[in-house]
């Protein structure tokens, strides 16, 4: 579903991403681990065609994202680290707009509220202006937007940062459901525990390189942490 072939991004002399080779099949949850600046966000931005690759290609559903960006964006939903919404509109109005942009203009209000219920947005919050929301609530609206889109692939950039453990746990459950429905997920995260819990594979990135890929069933959480830290020490 999501494929990167020798995907490389260079800023002048700095290599942000170096020849990434990656394929994420439907139903897979691939967690990208690594320090800040390792190239996780760059990878996601390349899949979204927000930045142009220096070389190599990123494809979604077999389509090169630089050649048909509008087509590929139909299949993919994105949740950034900090979901920013239109502050003067209510949560519901925001969800309705983004769903319409995503190609789903025909949801009824009750269907939209159902998405909010699924992501655990508190009752009554949907009708309030987003300006009054906490970061966690905005994050949930972001997840609801992704759900409403019904995308075949998800690009998540530290989506649970700022969520309380319960919400985070609910999010992991959602990911498992989506995975079961055949959605391919690429998630950049620092949360090894969530990665182990909801991921099917983890990849460790360092200085723009994907240095290791493991199945999450290969080891326990403690093992994962040990492996990760080993890679982080030069």
């Amino acid at each position: 579903m999501l494929t990167a072939v020798d995907l490389t991004k260079r800023y002048n002399d700095v290599v942000a991403l170096n020849a990434l080779r990656l394929t994420i099949a439907p139903g897979e949850v691939f967690c990208l681990l690594g320090a800040n600046g390792a190239g996780k966000t760059t990878t996601i931005n390349l899949f979204l065609n927000f930045i142009e690759p220096t070389s190599g290609s990123a494809t979604i559903n077999g389509i090169d994202v630089t050649k048909a960006p509008l087509e590929t964006k139909k299949y993919v939903a994105y949740i950034p680290e900090t979901v920013m919404l239109y502050r003067n509109l209510t949560g519901l109005e925001n969800l309705e707009y983004f769903a319409a942009l995503a190609g789903r203009p025909d949801y009824t209000a009750s269907q939209l509220l159902e998405f909010f219920a699924r992501v655990g947005l508190p009752d009554g919050a949907a009708e309030r202006r987003v300006g009054t929301y906490s970061k966690g609530m905005r994050q949930k609206v972001g997840i609801a937007i992704a759900l409403a889109k019904g995308a075949k692939a998800l690009l998540l950039d530290e989506p649970t940062s700022g969520l309380d453990p319960k919400a985070s746990n609910e999010f992991s459950d959602l990911l498992r459901q989506l995975s079961a429905d055949g959605v391919a997920v690429l998630m950049a995260t620092h949360d090894l525990f969530r990665a182990k819990q909801s991921g099917t594979r983890v990849g460790i990135m360092k200085h723009g390189r994907l240095v290791a890929v493991h199945g999450t069933d290969e080891f326990t959480h403690a093992d994962l942490e040990r492996v990760y830290l080993e890679h982080m020490h030069d």
Partner: protein, 477 residues
């Protein structure tokens, strides 16, 4: 998708106090501008009506006098005798040539407060009637009065820029842009939606408010030529707005911060709207300086004195030039004051002509320079177009002056033979009268259309460049 963006943008815009503030400011400025324009038009109309009443009253008195003089034994000094063609054509019976305000004159005062709109036409030398020297005005291309044209030229761009300078950068800065562009929607579509809503709102508000202000101030929209002029006005305003929207799209596409955009746009506004007109005016007046008005007045006076002194010699020369007017009785003619006066007037004109022509050549050269330079400033283009629509510009005035000249010639052609024949005028009904013939709508469309095209071409170029660049708008990194 596009209509959904429109709805969303309208929701954001209408929920924002800026729009309502802009609308309120717009309404106040438009109302005041139109009121000012309408007041000036009423003043002009009153002056023209007064002139026409004065003339009618004078003619009634002259006719009464002519009737009275038919009585045996009635007598009057030849200078005050309306039957004397020289007196009637000169001092007693001059008629007014007036330029009535065009149907929508209230839209732009333009240069109508500088260019004289009525003249008293007699057999006098042209230079004593038509004074073209008043055109020397350092602010001719800067908006002088607070009229609707001023609101459009100065304020409309600022309002447009206030609503558009951050239309993309604000979404980038508040972080919503990434989420929007992760959906299958192009930056171009998004910006087109933003521009469409803002343009519709602003131009709509402007047209509706201006229309309402025109109706309230009592402008007759059913007058002949009012509707085509109103259409031209809407087209011109739309083209001017298009330029500023094009510029905003272009600057937005550069991917700078909101602050940087505001600085770039404000500087451009200052350069195009404030600096360029003054600069171009300076260029025109420096390259083609107009001889001093004092010099011209002096030349007219000297020529008159000279011509008067040489009165008798002149007459002989005049008869040489116009043998058909010589009655043969030369001695009688020599002493005939009236005839001498015709010759003197003619001579004054001949003497003054080189000075006047130099004057008019320089002014024409200035005007031509500005006509060419105007393509570098949308503000000047717009001012010309609005002046044309309102009929308060140089071209309609020139059209008037040429008709005035023709009328002056006609007036003289009527009286001079009578003077030479020493005939007496018995009826005032056969005297020529002046009626202004309006420029044709086609000519007007031609001039306004040129201005509109000159605004639309750079608008399209700016928009084309902007939308091309927007495809690679730096959403991240």
């Amino acid at each position: 998708m596009f209509s959904r963006i429109l709805r969303h943008e309208w929701r954001l815009l209408s929920g924002d106090a800026t729009l309502w503030l802009v609308t309120a400011v717009c309404a106040a400025a438009i109302g005041y501008g139109v009121w000012n324009g309408a007041r000036w038009v009423r003043f002009q109309q009153q002056a023209i009506a007064d002139a026409s009443a004065e003339q009618a009253k004078r003619y009634d008195a002259l006719q009464t006098q002519i009737t009275a003089l038919r009585q045996p034994g009635a007598s009057v000094s030849p200078f005050a005798d309306p039957r004397n063609p020289s007196s009637l054509g000169g001092r007693l019976g001059p008629k007014y040539a007036t330029l009535p305000p065009a149907p929508l004159a209230a839209l732009a005062i333009g240069q109508s407060d500088l260019l004289p709109y009525y003249f008293k036409v007699s057999t006098d030398a042209r230079e004593n009637i038509v004074s073209t020297t008043e055109i020397e005005n350092p602010n001719r291309l800067l908006a002088g009065r607070f009229d609707l044209a001023f609101v459009i030229i100065f304020f409309l761009p600022l309002l447009i820029l206030a609503l558009t300078y951050n239309m993309v950068s604000a979404e980038q800065e508040q972080g919503t842009l990434a989420l929007v562009l992760s959906q299958p929607v192009g930056t171009g579509t998004l910006v087109r939606g933003k521009v469409a809503v803002r343009a519709t709102v602003l131009v709509g508000v402007l047209v509706v408010l201006a229309g309402a202000a025109l109706l309230i101030t009592g402008v007759n929209l059913t007058a002949a030529g009012a509707v085509p002029r109103l259409l031209m006005w809407i087209v011109a305003v739309t083209a001017y707005a298009a330029f500023w929207f094009g510029l905003a799209v272009c600057v937005s596409s550069l991917g700078q911060s909101s602050t940087a955009n505001a600085t770039i746009l404000a500087t451009t506004w200052l350069a195009l709207v404030v600096v360029a007109p003054s600069l171009f005016n300076l260029i025109a007046t420096s390259f083609y300086p107009v001889p001093s008005r004092v010099e011209m007045v002096q030349a007219v006076r000297e020529a008159s004195d000279e011509a008067n002194k040489e009165g008798s010699k002149l007459l002989a020369r005049y008869y040489e030039d116009h043998p058909e007017l010589a009655t043969g009785d030369a001695a009688q003619a020599m002493t005939d004051f009236n005839v001498v006066r015709v010759a003197v007037n003619d001579d004054v004109e001949n003497r003054v002509r080189p000075v006047v022509q130099r004057y008019e050549r320089q002014i024409a050269a200035q005007q031509q320079t500005l006509d060419r330079l105007r393509f570098f400033s949308p503000a000047i283009l717009m001012q010309s177009a609005l002046n044309d629509v309102a009929g308060s510009g140089v071209d309609r005035h020139r059209h008037f002056i040429s008709q005035l000249d023709a009328f002056h010639a006609q007036w003289r052609a009527h009286f001079v033979p009578l003077i030479f024949a020493k005939a007496r005028v018995t009826s005032l009904d056969t005297l020529p009268s002046f009626t202004f013939v309006e420029e044709s709508t086609a000519v007007l469309w031609g001039r306004v259309g040129t201005g509109v095209m000159a605004l639309l071409l750079p608008s399209l170029a700016l928009a084309w460049f902007g939308f091309r660049r927007l495809r690679r708008y730096p959403v991240a990194g």
